[in-house]
């Protein structure tokens, strides 16, 4: 393995500094007794106390996580099939049409997606709440996951699958033993991007939710008029620290295990998911 030199290390350090700057800014002010995100007055843990005591907020956090994990997993499954579908279409025009259809939801602003899903759900008579939110999140996460998986399929040499078929592998074997292992990094990228989409979505969830079901984004955005209180900062800090511990902890756990094993495990694979 070639080592990065000082200059390239500096580049990465800078990149990470910028990526985490707003998060550290948020975390810093979650301890501000002044109650605002500017002008640090004094240290307090008041907002953390508020978070822990707020059961409604806790339920909302759990809802958010459940929706994010389930919708991303389902969306990734559909996206694998979708990427295969797009890949197997030989006709270039048909392929482009399929890709364009795939991308419609990425290009449509959230309000439009939200409003049209709301109309669809009411026509279909689906009760607004957990199911409608889950379906919508699956729906708008599929295209981004497809975009992440597709290049891996495109790069895969067709001779590989042909060879497997010639050697007598069944269709199913080709899929599970040849194709899936090759596109695995894409599948994980797709899953993580779907997770990002789901956690960040406000507008679509707002329209399709109901009967008291809420997610963190909806709650945060609707607090904007009153001013988002620092307890939301505190909550984000807790979530952030928890996630980062999970990610790092799991990474090193799997790594130690795999040292004895043959290959380096896919840390990205299961990271973030405790067993």
């Amino acid at each position: 393995m070639r080592k990065n030199n000082g200059f390239s290390n500096l580049y990465l350090v800078l990149l990470f500094a910028v990526l985490y700057a707003p998060i550290f800014y948020l975390m810093y002010y979650s301890f501000n007794s002044g109650g605002t995100m500017h002008g640090f007055e004094g240290f307090t843990l008041e907002y953390y106390r508020e978070v822990v005591q707020d059961t409604r907020l806790m339920i909302i956090v759990i809802n958010t996580l459940v929706i994010a994990l389930l919708s991303s997993a389902i969306a990734t499954l559909i996206a694998i099939l979708g990427a295969l579908a797009i890949q197997y279409v030989r006709n270039r025009r048909a392929k482009n049409t399929l890709l364009s259809l795939n991308n419609v939801l990425i290009v449509s602003p959230d309000v439009i997606i939200g409003a049209s899903f709301l109309i669809l759900f009411t026509i279909a008579g689906i009760k607004l709440g957990f199911v409608s939110v889950l379906l919508s999140h699956v729906a708008f996460s599929v295209p981004i996951a497809v975009l992440m998986i597709l290049p891996h399929l495109q790069d895969m040499s067709p001779t590989l699958t042909d060879a497997a078929r010639d050697l007598g592998a069944s269709r199913r074997d080709v899929l599970t033993k040849v194709i899936l292992p090759i596109i695995k990094p894409g599948i994980f990228s797709g899953f993580f991007m779907a997770l990002t989409y789901s956690l960040d979505d406000f507008a679509v969830t707002f329209f399709v939710t109901g009967n008291g079901y809420s997610t963190l984004s909806v709650e945060i955005y609707s607090r904007a008029r009153q001013g988002v209180s620092l307890s939301i900062n505190a909550l984000s800090t807790l979530i952030f620290l928890f996630t980062i511990l999970l990610v790092i902890g799991y990474y090193f756990l799997t790594r130690r295990k795999s040292r004895t094993a043959v290959a380096i495990a896919e840390p990205a694979a299961e990271a973030g998911v405790p067993r």
């Binding site: 500017h38 795939n102 290009v107 049209s116 669809l120 290049p151 894409g186």
Partner: protein, 268 residues
């Protein structure tokens, strides 16, 4: 490969397209044909070709282009360097992690950071540059947008680089190619599919950005996304909002045709 009749496992995806893509698009098309009073009209389409909307379309394009270009410029070297670090999977995860913190909160943080009395201006003061207005400029808009989209660009490029056969690089070097030549003739062409999917994942949503235009650009940048948002939520003119959306989708499809067309030339 095509083995017709046994593609039943593709059903979920086609079902998804039918229910969540085609149906909403039909709905949008339908709405775009009605005016405020609910009368059938083509007026919305005529209205789109007025200077106001054309200018907006151009602005959206220009900024989406800038955002994509800068994302690529930052992301490619980053992805390249990441593949060479020790715990690369971990670092990659750490790139994605910030995206899981609520966007509105991060944007509020950026308002604080870029503000007149924020850390960036303090830094400027230290270096004697003096106070600058960073918020509510095209620069801050592009910067924050790139910030939002950068993981979407890094991820596919990283995966593409990962699959790159290292022996190819050695071969190129053995044949006397310089670092730059190796990159231009071997590495970049082989990762072009990752670059393309990254560009798509950035450019397409960048066309319809809306919240950042208000929060960070103070409505100095008005994009098609903002217009749709306004029509749906403020004026409740779903007709015009849908019309703008129809154009947005058409533009995206056109973009797909163009980039899709060049694919064969590069790869085969």
């Amino acid at each position: 490969m095509t083995n017709k009749g046994r593609s039943y496992y593709l059903i979920p995806y086609y079902l998804w397209i039918a229910l969540f893509v085609i149906a909403p698009v039909l709905l949008i098309l339908y709405y775009s044909l009605f005016d405020l009073d609910g009368h059938f009209t083509l007026g919305n389409y005529v209205n789109f070709f007025t200077p106001v909307y054309l200018k907006m379309t151009l602005t959206s394009f220009w900024y989406a282009f800038l955002i994509t270009a800068f994302s690529l410029l930052v992301a490619y070297p980053a992805a390249y360097l990441l593949t060479r670090t020790k715990h690369k999977q971990l670092w990659l995860l750490l790139i994605i992690l910030p995206t899981w913190i609520n966007l509105l909160l991060k944007t509020y943080a950026f308002i604080g950071i870029f503000g007149t009395f924020g850390p960036v201006n303090n830094l400027f003061d230290v270096f004697g540059i003096g106070e600058q207005q960073i918020l509510f400029t095209g620069f801050s808009f592009v910067f924050v947008s790139v910030y939002i989209f950068i993981p979407f660009m890094i991820l596919p490029i990283f995966s593409a680089l990962e699959e790159l056969n290292l022996s190819l690089l050695d071969a190129a070097r053995d044949l006397g190619a310089s670092g730059w030549t190796t990159f231009r003739r071997v590495v970049f062409p082989l990762t072009i599919s990752g670059v393309r999917s990254g560009c798509m994942a950035v450019f397409i949503p960048a066309l319809s950005l809306f919240m950042i235009t208000r929060l960070i650009a103070g409505n100095r940048v008005i994009t098609l996304g903002t217009a749709i948002e306004q029509h749906f939520l403020v004026t409740q003119d779903w007709g015009m909002g849908s019309t703008v959306a129809v154009f947005l989708i058409a533009i995206m499809a056109l973009f797909m045709m163009l980039t899709g067309g060049s694919r064969k030339g590069v790869q085969k």
